[in-house]
Symmetry: D2
Subunit: 369 residues, 4 copies
Amino acid sequence: MDYMNGPGRNHLFVPGPVNIPDQVIRAMSRQNEDYRSPAIPALTKTLLEDVKKIFKTTTGTPFLFPTTGTGAWESALTNTLSPGDRIVSFSLGQFSLLWIDQQQRLGFSVDVVESDWGYGADLGVLESKLRSDSQHPALLLVDGVSSICALDFRMDEWGVDVALTGSQKALSLPTGLGIVCASPKALEAAKTAKSVRVFFDWKDYLKFYKMGTYWPYTPSIQLLYGLRAGLDLLFEEGLDNVIKRHTRLGTATRLAVAAWGLKNCTAKEENFSDTVTAVVVPPYIDSSEIVKHAWKRYNLSLGLGLNKVAGKVFRIGHLGHLNELQLLGCLSGVEMVLKDIGYPVKLGSGVAAAAAYLSNSTPLIPSRI
Amino acid sequence: MDYMNGPGRNHLFVPGPVNIPDQVIRAMSRQNEDYRSPAIPALTKTLLEDVKKIFKTTTGTPFLFPTTGTGAWESALTNTLSPGDRIVSFSLGQFSLLWIDQQQRLGFSVDVVESDWGYGADLGVLESKLRSDSQHPALLLVDGVSSICALDFRMDEWGVDVALTGSQKALSLPTGLGIVCASPKALEAAKTAKSVRVFFDWKDYLKFYKMGTYWPYTPSIQLLYGLRAGLDLLFEEGLDNVIKRHTRLGTATRLAVAAWGLKNCTAKEENFSDTVTAVVVPPYIDSSEIVKHAWKRYNLSLGLGLNKVAGKVFRIGHLGHLNELQLLGCLSGVEMVLKDIGYPVKLGSGVAAAAAYLSNSTPLIPSRI
Amino acid sequence: MDYMNGPGRNHLFVPGPVNIPDQVIRAMSRQNEDYRSPAIPALTKTLLEDVKKIFKTTTGTPFLFPTTGTGAWESALTNTLSPGDRIVSFSLGQFSLLWIDQQQRLGFSVDVVESDWGYGADLGVLESKLRSDSQHPALLLVDGVSSICALDFRMDEWGVDVALTGSQKALSLPTGLGIVCASPKALEAAKTAKSVRVFFDWKDYLKFYKMGTYWPYTPSIQLLYGLRAGLDLLFEEGLDNVIKRHTRLGTATRLAVAAWGLKNCTAKEENFSDTVTAVVVPPYIDSSEIVKHAWKRYNLSLGLGLNKVAGKVFRIGHLGHLNELQLLGCLSGVEMVLKDIGYPVKLGSGVAAAAAYLSNSTPLIPSRI
Amino acid sequence: MDYMNGPGRNHLFVPGPVNIPDQVIRAMSRQNEDYRSPAIPALTKTLLEDVKKIFKTTTGTPFLFPTTGTGAWESALTNTLSPGDRIVSFSLGQFSLLWIDQQQRLGFSVDVVESDWGYGADLGVLESKLRSDSQHPALLLVDGVSSICALDFRMDEWGVDVALTGSQKALSLPTGLGIVCASPKALEAAKTAKSVRVFFDWKDYLKFYKMGTYWPYTPSIQLLYGLRAGLDLLFEEGLDNVIKRHTRLGTATRLAVAAWGLKNCTAKEENFSDTVTAVVVPPYIDSSEIVKHAWKRYNLSLGLGLNKVAGKVFRIGHLGHLNELQLLGCLSGVEMVLKDIGYPVKLGSGVAAAAAYLSNSTPLIPSRI
């Protein structure tokens, strides 16, 4: 078949899948292996131990499902809940919609709290719902697909019962691992949860954990080595530094958006995301044209607005293995696209605003000092 | 972490995951991409069209799930059946046991036909069960994980309703794609099947097929390009030639086993598999010692006997991207292992028997004539 | 050993080695092969035929030496000249100095025409020297290491006798191929040239060309496949489009430099290079600090000023597999470095100037229209 | 272009280039880097230090030329000798012929000691020549291309002045590094040697060694990282174990040849090589047909007989990254080829002889015990 090659690198700024470090691509460029030899359990053991660090948990139990974020959601729900169980869910964006849809299709009773897109979950509503349902054995399930490994997240400290992410997000791997981490309380709940499940069942994993062979079915050898390499890089940089880098890149992006005279789809600063910025375009512009044009002319991949905000926003993903100059190249590209598409942007304005901030906040690379 | 390196190549003869062609490893050694750009749907379209060829179907609809064979099983069952529906299943080996377990846990009423391991499904029993249940709307679901792309399989001609395989088997890719193909009758059944499903639901895929974007959630970019490269190689060799090669390697293996004076766990010739040979060891030998020793001394990976035949058989996988001299190297290694472990084998005997057959049956490589 | 990892990609803007397309890295990620099998000569034949296109010659004979540009120089000289032969050489930059040094050490009588660095060869001087040496059998040898495949070059039309380049420059491969192309007149001269040579001798290659086995000694299998992939990409983009892209990136860089209020080391427009820009820094700045700082803080690799201009200039390489947003990311990085190092640059100024030009001149990517 | 693919792996048993470990292929699958950044000198420093270990020298100075073995030869000669200097060379095989040809073309006075091919150098002749030339300042130059890293070699202990090898031989890398190691006496000789040289001149390297930047011209970044990975593997296995493995594989090969009733081209046991075995075929067989057929039918790459022994011998290379079962697969293939080509071999006979020896001599893999 014909590929759609362009000169130079693709600039990948969708909110996932994200840029993979070359070290990870190398680690994954390998043959299959017998996953029942001693080598793969030995590797898996280090992964399970180390993956807990990205959830900031010492008491949680992680599962590395060969699936996507959607599968990780399903695993979180079906292992802890029985059909008819009540879930309080916040509808505040496309992926919350999708998770709610999954919750309903899996037979749970979903109490959907609607909010305008661009606003976060109203914790006051949550508190009152929890209070009114006194002596509830509520579990806190967190979709961390776009946050874990990029934003501050503390499973133990915050009392999270199930947290999950996908390998193609801030972990900067290919798609294929749905990583779910369960608290002791969640594991306990799993013993009585009646939702039908086999592929996503924690029980099978726990059985093989006990045997020390770890895998109830065949894992991707390549993703295991890739995860090893990815975690090594994360720990070398330091998880806190990784989070700071995301803060830096997110802030820089928002400064650029403001300099262009455009609005962030997220209304309040407290809800800003350091992993993705949804930019609202003026009514006379179709944001999907921006995304198409960026790809066709500048080899720049931006995210579409989805569902309610289709045509109205485009998204700049700034998570994962990414640095300042990559982002500035992207921002410069967005400026040219905006100009091409008819928005009166001053070229260089967003880049200047972002660079002014970055030149004050970017640390030296520790291995090179 | 420390890796368990050995000199020279690993000789991978487990029944999966299998040897990956270098062309596929290369094709997969790549960055992530935006799966919503026009490039990935264009690629996916060719894959869905071409994957039908390996099932020998023109009327089937394929699904490329980011999962394993176990997930593909679950997708086949939950999309076509409702809880309580009756399944006739044959219990004749470890993976049939696992599938039956899944069927039971998913809430189906499983009519298990027991047979001794090493014997195939008793089709007479099946026929009488079907006849006694007259005017049944039975669907034929086939677990082709260890056969499709290696053995003769004809979905349309044989009236199969759902067939499935996994990428890490005869397709010779890494683990991560569960490939399910549904007949029109199966798709029709999916409309009324009441089993709970979301991640594995065909409906979501069909919706995105119609839109031309193909993916309800993020696929592995790398596996898509890998599948493209793998299919290109299969078609270059010719699917019929691939099947003949498996017949050749399977026959050669069985000749070697006979020459060693050992028995095939499969009793009748009509049930011999050209993808794996389970070799029965004498009672005074623990077959798991053979597997351990092969790996520790000769960098040879063999399959353990599982469950009922644990300790009693070891398995030689001879499927996927493999040729005559690779197999002969393996057989020679098995001979040395048998000798080491105390079985009185005549070194060279199995290799000689296999080579005598192969030197009469191996064709010239077409691209080199 | 410890590697000097940094977050995100390295931004490689030295004038060589340059960014390699992922397609080439993939093509080279491979095993060794027997170079005496029919496969390698068949591959080599296509390479020799296609490599002539990048020299724009139909009558030339190319040689793919396993060496660097320095070795290619030596091959060009020793195959065409005898010790004591006179060479007119222009001293106008670091690499001309190095080539002149090589010419002298190889025993030729070098008539060095000195010019200030930053000025091109004075063709008037050359003409008068050639005229005064009437009936000379002069050969025209061109060091195209930093130009061929990036700038307009026409071997046949311009009457060039030996042209050469290195794989790690505009061809965008790893270092390791010194590509030399000889006109019929040069081949004729080689028959009588008395310079001592063995490894670099064209005669051995021509003997193996005649036999159809092509290689007098072992080539790098990986570089041959890499060259194949690299040429395929070049021809897909179109050599003329590649040259236009270099013009575009070179122009954009110079516009940025001017916007920063800095000077191009190259004095006259007619001598501007579209593959590298040497930027003169103010006397109070040590340009080597710019290069160090860029690498330490922004993962940006710039070129040092060499020899006479050490400390006075830094170089931005803009050749090879590179696009607009990569360059803009680099320019934005240079701005931040200049600011960090104490030069009063207006952040965004160079990027704005470059982007204004690029947004008017960048074509759509043909495969995506 | 069309590639000459075949099913399964290529079995590479030419005496070079040899099988590359996957770890090395991975390490080399990478982007270019600025070789003037601190990272590459830091890497080079470890390489130069560690490469001395494979020569077993502490006083030698290594050079990593971007060239082949032929270039390494030229570097060894031109840096230590002046035109007209006398060399005693032994003519005893194809590569000695080629080196003698190079010596003559480089202008040295070569005293060729002829011996029948298949016999080693007559050390008695050498001794008498050295004695008769009393008070000679003779240097001992050793072509270790097919031996260093595979056979016992001790530069310091044996008083070798220049030793050299190529990366595509026992080091198991791609072609592209000519590794030359010079004793202090050789370095001293280089100061006065008058042979013309530039690319291959040690002086330029020594100048850059002193500066700590190491490279007078651009190295292959990929080969440097590949060499690092290759050396790491060698040291992990242990150089002495690597040598023992070569002894084992060489011995096994010779036992197979004897079992087939064929003769080793090397007459005396003391001259047997543990890296390659040249097998003499009966007069009624053309050995080049064996090589062709092996490649066309069994994807097996064997070495041709060259020059005087063309058509009379074929060669089995058994050096580099290779283990027992790979060799046994090859030997089994050779048996089938011999049968196909009309030689009355008993299938399994050579494999049995080799396996009998190997099953007694192969150690457990240390990392797996």
